[in-house]
Symmetry: C3
Subunit: 175 residues, 3 copies
Amino acid sequence: MNALPPVTLMLGGARSGKSRHAEALVEGQPGACVYIATAEAGDHEMAERIRRHQARRGARWQTLEEPLDLVGALRGAARSDGAVLVDCLTLWLSNLLGADRDVETETQSLVAALPGLAGPVVFVSNEVGLGIVPEGALTRAFVDHAGRLHQAIATAAQSVLFMTAGLPLALKTPA
Amino acid sequence: MNALPPVTLMLGGARSGKSRHAEALVEGQPGACVYIATAEAGDHEMAERIRRHQARRGARWQTLEEPLDLVGALRGAARSDGAVLVDCLTLWLSNLLGADRDVETETQSLVAALPGLAGPVVFVSNEVGLGIVPEGALTRAFVDHAGRLHQAIATAAQSVLFMTAGLPLALKTPA
Amino acid sequence: MNALPPVTLMLGGARSGKSRHAEALVEGQPGACVYIATAEAGDHEMAERIRRHQARRGARWQTLEEPLDLVGALRGAARSDGAVLVDCLTLWLSNLLGADRDVETETQSLVAALPGLAGPVVFVSNEVGLGIVPEGALTRAFVDHAGRLHQAIATAAQSVLFMTAGLPLALKTPA
């Protein structure tokens, strides 16, 4: 198994296999595996997705649910010696907007916290900007926020992967 | 002309040139060319698309129209000695859902049938999961089904290409 | 700084960093930098985007606003000795459709004009065909037009880049 760099960003579309691949990357590291879930089981569809994801991961995983305070969850997780998976940034962004938080400030705080983490972290996020420009101004703003967030994390990351049909494509590789 | 591996998956967006490139791959093989169309000329827009596609392909092609029983069509086509083009999986999926078929079972049957085919087959499919998450639950389910179908075929394929603006990008290459 | 080939196409999703990267490519050339904006400040959201883009570019840039006659603007810009950035083709297409122009004819005129230009040109355009097929027939037609336009420019270009999260991926490189 290869050692993960400090920060990995795993982008991809819906059902592209990005969560599964990210889990495999984290499980390839020694020590504990920490799963930070940004989703909340707000409706039946989402609860079912969370249940399926948890069933897939084994007993080696510790799960933290944190819809908003991602930096705090990362700092808490970093007290363990293992690798951390954040699944996913898109839902975190959605939660921030729903809670009227300032996305730019939150993004800067997240990027600023990354160098202080003890172990490697893998961020999973949905690429949402490759379809037709959506009609609602709020949805357009969401796409814009997601794109800027991805650029910020990709700049901070040493490894960026784009997943299609379960196949990872390296967009950025550690030097 | 390079020999095609047994299974090729050609993914890409709308008007990305994937059908044209897939046709060229199949025409590069010796023997007959079989075109399995999963589209039905149900409305004027689709009928016009089918007509344009047929006009582009020459007399060397044999066309089978099969909206649902893709495994049967592939087995029938395999009696010839040539290569087969399936265009496209996304419409097949849409037809399956419209006919209340179980997509997971159908996908497993398709994957199970692949090793038994006599000649190479190229599957064309639309990547649809890279835009904003669509609003309707049925449409979200369609995107999920498409992603899982693509993962299953990509696992079984030796070659997976992603087409953008007429330019193929190799996501998986034969060993 | 590397010399740009005569024609570069920069594709990418919303907020993928494609305009910024294209600006850097053009600024890496000697001589003047010409920015051909196809956007019109028709509403507040768009006016704000244009203002932010202009503030980002420095005094070295000359800006031409041309929503429809892109060939004329390119010929005018070519009288200078510098590189030209066209931002973006997607809005040009939208303007053509709004003005009832024939997109195929306009695309052919644009491609035919490219070999006559004095300096390098970089076209920026949005990939819009990777989400779910949109519902309206006009929107579907727009996606189809965009895909065909991208294929035509990609064929004429020596360099085609696909931008994701600020990271360029080469789809076509100069021979």
